[in-house]
Symmetry: C2
Amino acid sequence: MASPVLPSSGVLSPLGLDSVRPAPGFWGDRVALSREVIIDHCREWMERDGWIGNFRELNKNPARPRQGREFSDSEIYKLLEAMAWADHPGLPELAATVARAQEEDGYLNTRWHDDRYTDFEWGHELYCYGHLIQAGVARLRMHGEDELTTVARRAADHVCRRFMDTSETCGHPVVEMALVELYRATGVERYLEMARRFVERRGAPALADIAFGRAYFQDDLPVRKAEVFRGHAVRATYLACGAVDVAVETGDTELLAAIEAQWDRTVARRVHLTGGMGSHHADEAFGEDFELPPDRAYAETCAGVGSVMLAQRLLLATGDVRYADLAERTLFNVLATSPALDGRSFFYANPLHVRVPATPSEGINQGVEGDLRSPWFTVSCCPNNIARTYASLAAYLATSDASGVQIHHHTPGEIRHDGLALRVETGYPWSGAVTVRVLEARPARISLRVPAWASGARISYGGTDRPAPAGYAVAEGDWQVGDEIRLDLPVTPRWTFPDNRVDALRGCAAVERGPVVYCAESVGDVPELALVEARMSPPVEHLVDGVVELDVRSTRISPETDTWPYIPAQPAEQPAERPDGDPDPSGQPASPETLRLVPYHRWGNRGPATMRVWLPAADRRV
Amino acid sequence: MASPVLPSSGVLSPLGLDSVRPAPGFWGDRVALSREVIIDHCREWMERDGWIGNFRELNKNPARPRQGREFSDSEIYKLLEAMAWADHPGLPELAATVARAQEEDGYLNTRWHDDRYTDFEWGHELYCYGHLIQAGVARLRMHGEDELTTVARRAADHVCRRFMDTSETCGHPVVEMALVELYRATGVERYLEMARRFVERRGAPALADIAFGRAYFQDDLPVRKAEVFRGHAVRATYLACGAVDVAVETGDTELLAAIEAQWDRTVARRVHLTGGMGSHHADEAFGEDFELPPDRAYAETCAGVGSVMLAQRLLLATGDVRYADLAERTLFNVLATSPALDGRSFFYANPLHVRVPATPSEGINQGVEGDLRSPWFTVSCCPNNIARTYASLAAYLATSDASGVQIHHHTPGEIRHDGLALRVETGYPWSGAVTVRVLEARPARISLRVPAWASGARISYGGTDRPAPAGYAVAEGDWQVGDEIRLDLPVTPRWTFPDNRVDALRGCAAVERGPVVYCAESVGDVPELALVEARMSPPVEHLVDGVVELDVRSTRISPETDTWPYIPAQPAEQPAERPDGDPDPSGQPASPETLRLVPYHRWGNRGPATMRVWLPAADRRV
């Protein structure tokens, strides 16, 4: 089975790339984009940067300075994983380049040599192995043993020899989940034991204190004692993935329950509407509960990847639809947002409010601000992470259990499992109609996810038609070839309001439609977004280039001051309530105007712009 | 005249430490705190840290690694400046320690040696000279020539030789204003010319591009072309100080007007209610216009110092009261906030909202978060900057012109100028009554600042009593010893609302009283501050330990969700408006409760707490 995660037990089992074949459609187009554009884009940049050259020139040319950050090896490994899932013809050559740099004892790193393992906080050596091992597992599952899998296993064996009986661990988790997956792929139990020890020794503490504090790398508390995700959001989600993997393979229900509880609290208090995670730029970290300013949202693309990987693991372990719901939200509003339509530039951060159009610049983006997509970054994890996640996306779409098949993400394609073959046809997310046609038949339950927002959904098949509440709509029968199941998800645009504890969003509303978050984007002559107040009238749909855009009503508001922006209370005799049409500077009530909203994941494709997801709202409720 | 800034021309002239002597009172107490506690506190920490040892051991002990950050020399210089203003007996010994490290050609830095001037972006060598020269000027004006002034002049001469005809400058401004001041103190014109060239060559650009972008160190645009302060807030305000100083001494009215315009726009759009500057943690920088989330406010103490220094320069140049108004706001709400009451711990960042009580820790704070004061920091600019600013604070209080004396900041003390001697008596800011008694008399105009918030102020003297509109209340007469002028500033607590473009503050209100911003502080059992909605009723005053605290009415609100914090619109048939008393979970309207507000500058003195300046507001206007 070709899937990035293949637990040996759990409520659901994944269906891999060999079972699920996306067709043209929202996600199938993106799988193709990764295979045909993004992978080569990343490879070209890493050649240009010299990050691949670091392997090629290692120990050959002492005059050549090493290029890139101390963890740049990991970017080549993420790309190798993407290539493995995409069966990319360039993999063997790149794998051979990597293999030549491996030392006799399995050690492999272009940055560290005689000084290996002298900086666990920032050295990233185990982090690099983690991505190498994930690439090796992908290759093993897609292709079988070859040079890449050999390199990965040698590295894993080296790690087990070197670290099994120490108290050390890496500042950046990922090796934990990689080792569990290598155990799953090979049956070699020491990989699982090594992963378990890395998970357990974290928080002892195992690392030195740093300026950001140990919570930055989740070393403040043992993972099973924590109550919420905190610190660096990519590290936090990657560690949680490893903990779930260890819990599932060792039957550690306490550890699994701990991660579930941390996820619950995090999702209730520390996640942006888009599913984006992270409110702090300096340490790329979660904020405190309800600290979610949309303009300072960091919501790193890689944290979105980590969140989707974690949700998949929790879904498989528990079968709880909430994990698939958050995964979908994150896929449509973080992972689909990062790459430009042409797959050649990327957001690193994904803020929900941009006040000033970016100044375009050429080449590498040294920073990570989310106001303009860039072709490459000094730290370029996000493009490679998108490449590998898109390339393996088919493995996230559907699962199986003894009773049949579950479809979690609705996108055109074919699903085959154990004598059952299904074709999914849908214009989702623009349409809410999903048709599942039986291509090869056997008796089975076919379950279709009904997202929490889809109130009023219906399922019909075999002449029956019934309501489909949130969760899974189950169609059960002795299927015949040609049978159809139809799921209708109401994708009427809806206004969404923040809980009153999310301070930065007070008085605002956002529009969602199906799984897609919308935003206002100020391309060209639209009004300054700071001076628009939305009316809670129903949005009007327009199909533009195959994408649903929305018109809402808004009124222009006037700035209250042009000097000091904090204004004394007005005397009580002045009217406390403003009329429905706010006065403009001439004293006339403003007429409602039309404000066009576009899917958040589409913003910024038409050049520099301002953007906001949360709109100042004239009313608290519709 | 003993003042940190002594322009040779301008609408107003400063009165220095020799003319203004604060007595016990709000600011006099803080001048004494610096002299008696903060200076020694800083010196002890810099001995313990080895930062002073860097000078002592230079070229002596190759085995001893240099201690501290690359710019730690500058901290010793800030402390020397504080010692100079305070006439501290420890100055000669510390100055001698510094002097021994100076090279033959005047070069002086404990971090750089053979590799001097190889990193203008981050090397901070000119920045360190700037603070050394400011210390030398302070010493010259307080004491006369000595070893410290010699060291400073040799360094300045070295800078002029090395940099007069290059295109280089320093990543961190400060040398510009230091050189102008040394010119003012010595009359040596090359110092002014060097400063002018440093100001002008910035933005050519003069520095390499960096990850934060050149705006970080204001090298994105020539200073006279910029429209607003941007980038690192301390750098921005320090550069503006140097530009004003150069403009004033060279008669460059265009340059002065450019800084005034930048200040105007900055104050209208990029400053927190406290006067704090900076919204970004990663680069300690200004945000975009109206990007002012109170929880992510950085508002570094040193940026407050820079803002006060700049306001003083603009006030002297123009006589415009708005500069003194912002200086007062910043003094009471940033500079008075940073040090604990005992002067032994400090805020580095000064956020306006803290959601989680800090975890106390001992010793050096590697971070800069503003949830708890720390005795010392890895980068410890703020304590030293408070020390030197408090020690010279007398020079910011009053000015003179041909017609008489202007009192900008009301605090007890004596002011002497040209045959006139005045004693100021006041309980300000707790009381709004200010009495100025004539101790030595001559005919003169005595102008007392009336802040913009002080609507209804009155001035009375010589049997007259009249309204005193915002600006300066002028008392003119042939004064006799014993005459009194009385200014009454209404310090009734007032509700303040944000402009509708400050997104993060929508739906909130704050309370100010006189120049003091108030906050709610959750010490002990007070309700969770996230769940309190303030009623706009008039605050009730309480005098607690000599400080005015305020009670406002509030109601507890209930969280709207415990899961995903973004809530679908309710159907239109449900009530859109909430009743005045919000329902609690039991469905009963909540009764108004009392919420105690304390001066923002006092928060955090009673141990870890949550805090918020901006309160969710039940009503838009009183």
